[in-house]
Amino acid sequence: MAETKTYREALREAMVQEMERDENVILMGEDIGVYGGTHLITDGLIDDWGPKRVMDTPISENGFTGAAVGMAMMGMRPIVEMMTWNFSFLAADQIIQHAAKLRYFSGGQVQIPLVIRGPNGGGVQLSAQHTHSLENFYGHFPGLKVVAPVTPNDVKGMMITAVRDPNPVIFLEAGALYGTKGEVEDGDNAVPFGKARIACEGDDVTLIAYGRQVNLCLRVADTLEEEDGVSAEVIDLRSIRPFDEDAIVASVEKTHRAVAVQEQWRWFGVASEVAAIIQDRAFDYLDAPVERVSGAEVPAPYARNLELAAFPSDKQVANAARRVLYMEEK
């Protein structure tokens, strides 16, 4: 059975299901309780679960993230809300220097079943300090798992998996998409990490993305079909670490052409990793160099026109696809 739900509702449903299943699961974060959450993800939950399970914290990212690491070492399973991922830099010491490495430097004596979640990425005119795409940043560190679900069904299923995972999980939500709707499976729809999703099948070119850029790629696939008679395959990576190399390679072996799309800056980004994997493992299948479409190399601007110009556009992606197909740009 499935029902149409918003991304926000699906996310909340996953957390509630896991709280019902395991009393070690608690929610913590700034204004998630009485206030209901800045993005209303946790709205009303404090009424059902009380302040011990839904804990409001001071504005103290490093402190409460570190406390959550300690709780996780003791067998609790905290889900920490970063009001937005932009504030996670304040907690980077706890996330990177502690959560990610504790298991290793304790010689395997502890595990850190911790989920840190919140909205990531731009698109809603929040300007420089409130706009980042941190997949590559957190994806760099061994010891973390990093996921970026884009559909309501995935956000539920991947949150279920995240809570049950015995490792720290960086859960990057598509903040601009909280209100979008989609079919969501009832009950336990746990989605495994490290498995990409074919968002749309095609034969001529592979568009690879994650987060809200997946939706952009799906629109571009429609355009290419209608305007150019091109059949594009869209891969939603879903999970950055672990990374589904096989899905990318299998698709490129079929289409022989690839465009990697990311909202983040071009240098040292996920798209570069995608390109490297393709040249490592599918070089002989390629009929054109891999293209990357990325955000502009500037801090995110405020004005709507500037912001739109700072992120990949439908047109840029469509033209990148046309270039790898040696077709005329439009």
């Binding site: 608690i26 011990k52 914290t57 001071p58 103290s60 490093n62 402190g63 409460f64 993230t65 570190g66 406390a67 959550a68 690491v69 300690g70 709780m71 996780a72 070492m73 003791m74 067998g75 609790m76 010491d93 706890q94 220097q97 502690h98 504790l102 298991r103 290793y104 430097f105 304790s106 010689g107 395997g108 004596q109 502890v110 595990q111 850190i112 061994p142 010891g143 798992k145 995972d165 015995p166 490792n167 990490f193 490290g194 670490r241 672990p242």
Partner: protein, 353 residues
């Protein structure tokens, strides 16, 4: 002050410190043994470092022994301990085998964390040792979370959280203390903060790092009660430890104690410590060496005689010599260990080997 010979071991004399707890002679002798063992261990580490057998950073506890020995004497099963990188004594006092601890420093597979952490990351979770940590202040929020979890799981246990004076200038300290005070209002944070104020954060004295040098009083800002204790006097520490661990256990509220102590050794093994402190100052503190003070007390009170003290020193040396031998003869970790313990679980992902 050399004492006259007493009435031999287990003389039954009661020694009293500045604190109010009557401490039996047997117990004081045991504590003396612990302090001497720790010092021998640290001296062996310094030797190992000079010989190039120990790599990385090395931070020894020499001069501060009474603090860890005194507080961990009040450790109860199920309690947890967390500290920074000056962590050898905490592991040893919780019962970790000196052989495995030394082997860790020697980078051996038989090390307490399999040769993956070294001096700064000693863990013995089964015994309550939740780790040594290398980022100043970084472990403080974690310790507060551990204390919260102990209460969340409805145990009667507490977390002893050791930190240095240097850590108190870190944001992590202030954020964590704030959380502890807040959660403590509901009796949900049984955390005993033990500030090991050894007067210097590396080479910078407390006076040169904060205008408000009363470190204990900083906890006022977070609604956490506090006091100071003479960290060179084992009996004073014992008294504070017994009283305060029980108080934290009963109330579920955090408490802070600043133990005034002194590191008579350098900060790290490669530290020219006379650059930042005078010979006179070091000499003054050495007069108050916790082991020296206790020795005098034991002798004065006839709790032990010179012969007994020599015997204890000899046994400590033997124990540590064995640990060094074990470490030296142990194998390096198997190379496969490089990729283990990165993740937990069956689907462990190790990246490209």
């Amino acid at each position: 002050m050399p004492a006259e010979n007493g009435n031999g071991e287990n003389g039954g004399a009661e020694a009293r410190g500045e604190g109010s707890v009557a401490t039996s002679a047997d117990r004081l002798v045991d504590l003396y043994r612990e302090m001497v063992t720790i010092r021998r261990f640290e001296e062996a580490c310094q030797r190992g470092f000079r010989q190039g057998k120990i790599g990385g950073y090395l931070h020894v506890y020499t001069g501060q022994e009474a603090v860890a020995v005194g507080f961990l004497d009040s450790f109860k099963e199920g309690d947890r301990v967390i500290t920074a990188y000056r962590d050898h004594p905490h592991a040893l006092l919780l019962g970790s085998d000196p052989k495995n601890v030394m082997a860790e420093l020697y980078g051996r597979g038989s090390g307490i964390v399999k040769g993956k952490g070294g001096s700064m990351h000693l863990f013995d979770v089964e015994r309550g040792m939740m780790g040594g940590y290398g980022i100043v202040g970084g472990h403080i929020p974690i310790g507060v979370g551990i204390a919260y979890a102990l209460k969340y799981h409805e145990t009667e246990n507490i977390c002893q959280l050791f930190l240095g004076d240097g850590a108190m200038s870190q944001g992590a300290f202030h954020e964590a203390a704030n959380l502890a005070g807040l959660w403590g209002k509901d009796g949900q944070c049984p955390c005993l903060f033990i500030v090991e104020n050894n007067q210097y954060g590396m080479g910078t004295s407390v006076e040169r790092t904060t205008a408000m040098t009363d470190l204990a009083a900083k906890f006022d800002a977070y609604g956490i009660e506090h006091e100071k204790v003479d960290g060179m006097d084992i009996e004073a520490v014992l008294e504070a430890a017994e009283r305060l661990t029980e108080q934290v256990r009963e109330t579920g509220k955090p408490y802070a104690v600043e133990a005034l102590t002194y590191r008579t050794a350098p900060h790290g093994a490669a530290d020219f410590f006379e650059k930042y402190r005078s010979k006179e100052e070091i000499e003054e503190w050495r007069q108050r060496d916790p082991i020296g003070i206790l020795e005098n007390k034991l002798l004065d009170s006839d709790a032990a005689d010179e012969e007994k003290l020599e015997e204890i020193k000899g046994e400590a040396k033997e124990l540590i010599d064995e640990a060094v031998k074990f470490a030296d003869e142990s194998e390096q970790p198997p190379i496969e260990e490089l990729y283990t313990d990165v993740y937990s679980g069956e689907d462990e992902y190790t990246g490209e080997a």
